[in-house]
Symmetry: C2
Subunit: 188 residues, 2 copies
């Protein structure tokens, strides 16, 4: 065994989430993660740029999904409605992964460095959304602000969904949060 077991990358991600959950992010060394995955520390860094990134392997796929949905929204849709289409597409990914999402969120919530990484992933998402909106003809600063608003809704909605006891769909929570944002910004 050892060399040439398949799925090294996924094994590392699984081992990392387990160890971060068991003893905390800071108390886990990269060498321990690699060992549990049957690999060496050096190989860990060939698959992930750093100790944080191992929790964010899916962020590229999520961003692509979100952005494509915005790009392919009906031509006449308003910017905010295009963003809403992106939220729907993104929300669908998490169906049936609520427990995994919860565990991951708990690990991130417990450590500042991991929160930083999560925030920059969301910022990257926001930038990509603004780009997609501009390609739809939306001008600045409306594009950036719509993107920021969309990500804010995603963030708040996702937090409420992982925290909630009941079994509402993420997509439902997203829709409600978006309506709340509209109500709130209409208030002035």
């Amino acid at each position: 065994m050892g060399r040439w077991e398949p799925n090294a990358r996924e094994r590392l991600a699984k081992a990392a989430l387990e160890l971060y959950s068991e003893r905390g992010y800071e108390q886990t060394t990269v060498a321990e993660i690699a060992k549990r995955a049957g690999l060496t520390e050096r190989t860990f860094f060939r698959h992930y740029a750093d100790k944080r990134e191992v929790l964010f392997g899916g962020s590229v796929a999520l961003q692509d999904l979100f952005v494509n949905a915005v790009a392919e929204a009906p031509g006449p849709a308003a910017p905010i409605d295009a963003a809403a289409a992106g939220l729907e597409a993104a929300a669908a990914v998490f169906d049936g992964r609520r427990e995994h999402s919860r565990q991951r969120q708990a690990v991130i919530a417990a450590n500042t460095e991991l929160q930083e990484r999560e925030l920059i992933k969301l910022a990257s998402l926001s930038a990509a959304l603004a780009d997609a909106l501009r390609r739809r003809g939306v001008t600045e600063p409306a594009a950036s602000l719509t993107a920021e608003a969309g990500v804010a809704v995603f963030k708040v909605g996702f937090e409420r969904w992982t925290a909630a006891a009941e079994e509402r769909t993420l997509s439902q929570v997203m829709r409600e949060s978006l309506e709340e944002l509209k109500a709130v910004t209409a208030g002035g």
Copy 2:
């Protein structure tokens, strides 16, 4: 000289900004910053938690200012208007510091780790704003969403201000950005 020169903390911040500008964040070691400030590496870490934090010494004061303005906004003001009052107060701090702001923004824009730190400072600001709004009687999720919206306006407004050639006031740019956000979220 050496021991007991005054303002060690400020000297470190100045040396760091200079070195990060001259040769980049990654190419600068903490030992070099300390040396330029006439101190040792160990002393650097007594003043700043890490190599990034040295660029964010003023964030606590900014947050306090922003939050206090929200808390002290007129009683009957809508949540979004209370946030607007906070934006005004925050904007005032940067009057006459445009060049310094530009240099600092350039350093941060050039490095991902620094962007992460900036984002978590903004997230902290958002959380504090949501808190202040809740103390005004605003309920969730309106408080969080208003806070996120306020920070989004701050972020976009600040970027436009440092990027702009003309000499508009930051406060003016903030007001415009807020109006844009309102227009955009009303669109659906």
